[in-house]
Each structure stands twice: as C-alpha cells, then as structure tokens.
C-alpha cells in the first residue's frame, strides 16, 4: 500500500474490482520504486542547494567566523556567543522592533486595502473591472528593482513628480526640494508605500478570485433579510474567505519581513542605520563588517521568527492539500 494512485484508492469500493492498469500487479517492486525515482533528482538538488546552506548557516551562527577564517577555513566554536552578543546590542534590539513594526504596517495595509479592492472589483461594471485588473497585473509584474528606481526618481527632491504634486496639493506645505531619504521615518514610510503598492495586486486579485467562488445567492438571501454591506462582510465574506485570508497574511508577513532590495537600494539602511531591518542588518554584518558568524546568527533569528508563522501555515496547507488529494 505504500504506492498506489491515490485517487483510485480513495474512491468508494466499486461494485466489481476494477481491472488495474496493465503491468501494475505484474511488477509491483518496480512500480513501488517509480515515485522514488521521480522525486530523487529533486531531493538531491534540494539537499545540495537548500539543505547544505541551511546547515552551514546554523553551524556558522555558532562560530567566530571573521575575515581570517575566509582564507584559513578555520573558525572557533563559540556556542551561543554570537546570539548573546547580538541580543546584547541595543542597535540590534532597535532593528528587531523596527522590523516588526515595518512588517505589521505593511501587512495590515496590504490586507485591509486588498480586501476593500477585491470587494470593489465585485461591484463595478465589466469595463471598469477589466481596466482595474489590467492596472493591477501591470503593477504586480513590475520588477522590484525597476519599481525601486522609479520610486527613487518620483521622490527625487528637486525634480521628482511627488514633491511637485504634494506642494501643489498643499497638504504638507511646501515640499519642493524636500529630501525624503535623508529623514529616517519618512524614508521608511516611502519604503512601506512601495511594498504595499507592489504587493497590493497579488492580495486583491487572489481575494477577488476566491470571492468569485462564493455563491451569489448567499448575498441575495442576506440582502433580502436586510443585511447591509458591513454585515455581509462579517457574516459571509470574511468567514468563507478565512483560510485564504490567513494564508495571504502569513505569506505577506514573510515577504515583507524579507524585503531587501527596496531598502538596500533606496537607503542602504541609512540615514544613521535607522531604516535597517533584520535582512539588511544580517547582510551588513556579514559582508561589510566581515563578521559572518554574527550575520548568520541574525539570519537564524529571522528564520526562527518566521518559523513560528510557518508552522501554522504548513499545517494549514498540508491539511488542505491532503483533503484536496483524497476527496
């Protein structure tokens, strides 16, 4: 029973035993080996390109691996020394808090705006839906590197279109020649804006696709019973979409927390290290300060934080996949 076509086994017993595909019973051992042979290349590749680096990362986080180790290949074992050192550093704690705040803000904005946008898409004329979808897909498709450079250009102090527009709108007073990236909070705000802008299409389109699977009759019944928009949200849309919402939230947490390119390209973690997040800090520690051990331990901390979310995510997904497979 180790290997059978899984949907046929899951089916209720047929009245008569169905003839198995030719050759299946004749060569059971070869058949049993087939799935193993099929996954073998993937397993070998994953061990090589994921397994080995991950083990190396863990080992590295317990070593004093400096520039000299690069050449000798030797590094002293320091146990949890890197971790106690890292956690004892007030800068690290500030970065940790900043990363959490950054992630929470990005994810909250993404989920709320994405939900509203998906709702909007259900209530517009077909032409407006097509137009909005095309715009969203184009934003989704924009490569992050290009989007970041466009951001850089739009918020250029003297000639950027944003400062001109904001000055004209008179919301924040005269912003001509205002340098966003030399103010830490404003710079971080722009990075959040970029992350949310770039991530919104995926959330909105996924929710819209999931929303399309909810029967319209549910909404009609609710409307007949006098339910308003907010009530249908609370009692129909959100409960039914809960699994999708949960998975999207976890995915966005991971993606926001791992965001590197926008921060690195726009501010390099500055000014004064005040837009640095965990990813940037790990990079800087390893490659600028040549302290690969501490860099690795910061990366391990990041992975551990995400693992807490991932456990939840994996359980959910593999349960669902299992149901999907055998149902």
């Amino acid at each position: 029973m180790a290997m059978t076509d899984k949907r046929s086994t899951a089916r209720p017993a047929a009245p008569r035993p169905r003839p198995g595909p030719p050759g299946r019973r004749a060569r059971p051992s070869r058949q049993r080996l087939l799935p193993w042979a099929m996954i073998a290349p993937a397993v070998v590749a994953l061990l090589l390109i994921q397994g080995y680096p991950l083990v190396r990362l863990l080992v590295l986080s317990t070593q004093d691996f400096g520039p000299r180790s690069l050449f000798t290949g030797q590094a002293d074992f320091v146990g949890l020394g890197n971790f106690t050192e890292v956690f004892g550093d007030p800068d690290f704690r500030a970065v940790l808090v900043r990363t959490v705040v950054f992630t929470v803000l990005c994810v909250a904005l993404l989920m709320v705006l994405g939900f509203l946008l998906s709702h909007l898409l259900t209530g517009v004329a077909p032409w407006a839906r097509v137009m909005t979808t095309v715009c969203l897909v184009l934003v989704w498709a924009m490569p992050m590197v290009a989007a970041t450079l466009v951001w850089q250009w739009m918020y250029q102090p003297q000639y950027g279109v944003a400062n001109w527009l904001l000055t004209k709108l008179r919301i924040f007073g005269d912003l001509s020649a205002y340098d966003w990236f030399s103010h830490p909070n404003q710079a971080l705000g722009l990075i959040i804006l970029l992350t949310v802008w770039k991530g919104l299409p995926f959330v909105a389109l996924t929710l819209f696709a999931a929303r399309g699977q909810i029967s319209e009759s549910l909404y009609e019944a609710a409307r007949l019973d006098g339910a308003g928009t907010l009530q249908t949200f609370r009692h129909i849309t959100v409960p039914i979409l809960r699994p999708v919402l949960a998975i999207l939230t976890v995915l966005e947490v991971i993606w926001s927390m791992n965001s590197f390119t926008p921060i690195w390209v726009l501010t390099q973690g500055g000014p004064d290290g005040r837009t640095t997040t965990l990813g940037v800090l790990a990079y800087l520690t390893a490659f600028s300060r040549n302290d690969y051990g501490s860099g690795a331990s910061i990366a391990v901390v990041t992975v551990l934080i995400l693992a807490v979310f991932s456990v939840f995510y994996v359980r959910r997904i593999s349960d669902q996949a299992e149901q999907g497979g055998t149902a």
Binding site: A125, A128, M131, L138, P143, A146, Y159, A307
Partner: protein, 280 residues
Amino acid sequence: MSPSMTPARRRRAANNGIAVVVSAVMIFPVYWMLATAFKQRGHILSAVPQFFPWPISLENFRRALGKPHFWVFVGNSLTVTLSSVVLSLVIALFAAIAIARFRFHGRRALMAVLVLVQMVPMSAMVIPVYLMLRSINALDYLPGLVLTYMTFVLPFTIWTLRGFVEGVPVELEEAALVDGCGRLQMYVRVLLPLLMPGIVATSIFAFVNAWDDYLFAYVIMKSQANYTLPVWLVSFKTAESVDYGAMIAASTIFSIPVLVFFLLVQRRLVGGMTSGAVKG
C-alpha cells in the same frame, strides 16, 4: 448622475468612479516610468513636471543602450535566468507528478519541506551560499549564480506544478492506462499537453523571480563583465551624477518583457497560485 437612476445603478456608477481613481493611482508609477523614458532630455529635469512626453524621443534609450557592456549584461541575465528555470523545470516536473499522483512514505514531509524552504529569506541564504561558492571557487562565475537561483526557483516550481498536476483529472490518465498506454507514454501524450499552460505560467513566474534578483547577483558577481541587468541598473543610481533619463529608460527595457509576459498569462497565474497554494 441623473435623478432617474435607481440606487443600485447609482452605487455601481460610484463604484466605477472609485475604480477609475484607484486604477489611476496604482498605474501612475508605471506610467511615469514610461513617460519619463520617452521624454526629451531637457524635459526630465524641469521644475514643472511634463505629464505627457511630447515630443517623443528615444534619446534616453539610446544613451542607456549605449552604455558599455549593455548587451553583455542582457546575455548574462538571460543565460542565468533561463538556465535556472529550465533546470528547475525538468527536475520539478517529475517530482510534482510523483507528489500529486502517488502516495509514498515521506510525501507529507517533502511537501512540508517544500513550503518551509520557501520561507527562508534570501538575505539569510546569501551568507552560507556565498561561503559555499567561495570554497569551491565559483564566486563571480555564472553557473554559480544559476545554482543560487535554483535555491528559490526549484521549491517554488515543484510546489506550483504540483497544484497544476492535481488540476488535471486523474480519470484521463486512468483511461489512457486502461487503453493499453504505457505509463511514460501516458505522461507524454496525455498529462504533458494538459499541463502545458501550467508549465508556461510557472516558468514565467519563476523567470520573473530570477530575472528580478538583485541581492545574490550583487554579492556573488564582483567583476563588471559578470553583472546581470539588476546590478547594472542599480549602478546607475550610485554614479556620481545620476542620469535619470537613462536610468528610467534602462528600467523600462528591463521591465517590458515581464509586463508583457504577465498580461499574457495573468488569468492562469491567479488561478494557478490560488489552486496550488490556496484552496478557497
């Protein structure tokens, strides 16, 4: 709005209006990239922004393409990206079929691992990968970068293809087997054609992820001859005086293939991602 409109129609008209505004706000940065790229040089750095690029000029593109080694970077990016996608696809196809169609010991564990490894941040992987490539003298070497890209392309490809394989009714395969088709023949003649759209969508998405990588290429590729396009693009920004026209034109060249790809497979992408990862 005419007074004869019913409340429902009025609400829809208001929604359409909101949709127009949202679309305009969302698309503006993309538009601004294109508009800037096609402007005349003198119209880029102007106190009052020019909202429509007129007269249209290809001068920025000419300057961007005229930078030394541009075609080398295009070649590097294409080589590395396509190699990692094609290699991953071949390995992933077998694994995806096995996971979707067979039960075997360790199947659940393998699926869990596939999801988990996709959560390891690139900025965490870059440290051990750098040291690993360094110890085998593969830094600053294109095949080293291919291997690096496979760290995120491969798990993603297996996972997404698995979703697409599950979307193909197993009855079709069983019918082919009953009709005396061999297993391999059945995969080639029945499953593969049905899977083709999924394979295309998955490879495009994988392509875009690798195409857009900046971090690994930046850390691993040190000599200019080995730069990929993202590293080259960012180097515009760090030049002493930024040539915004050329930088944005170069970003446009870099983005156009991806924008076109996405529009072509957009429908399948949303469906595929949600059926593979998310079951609504």
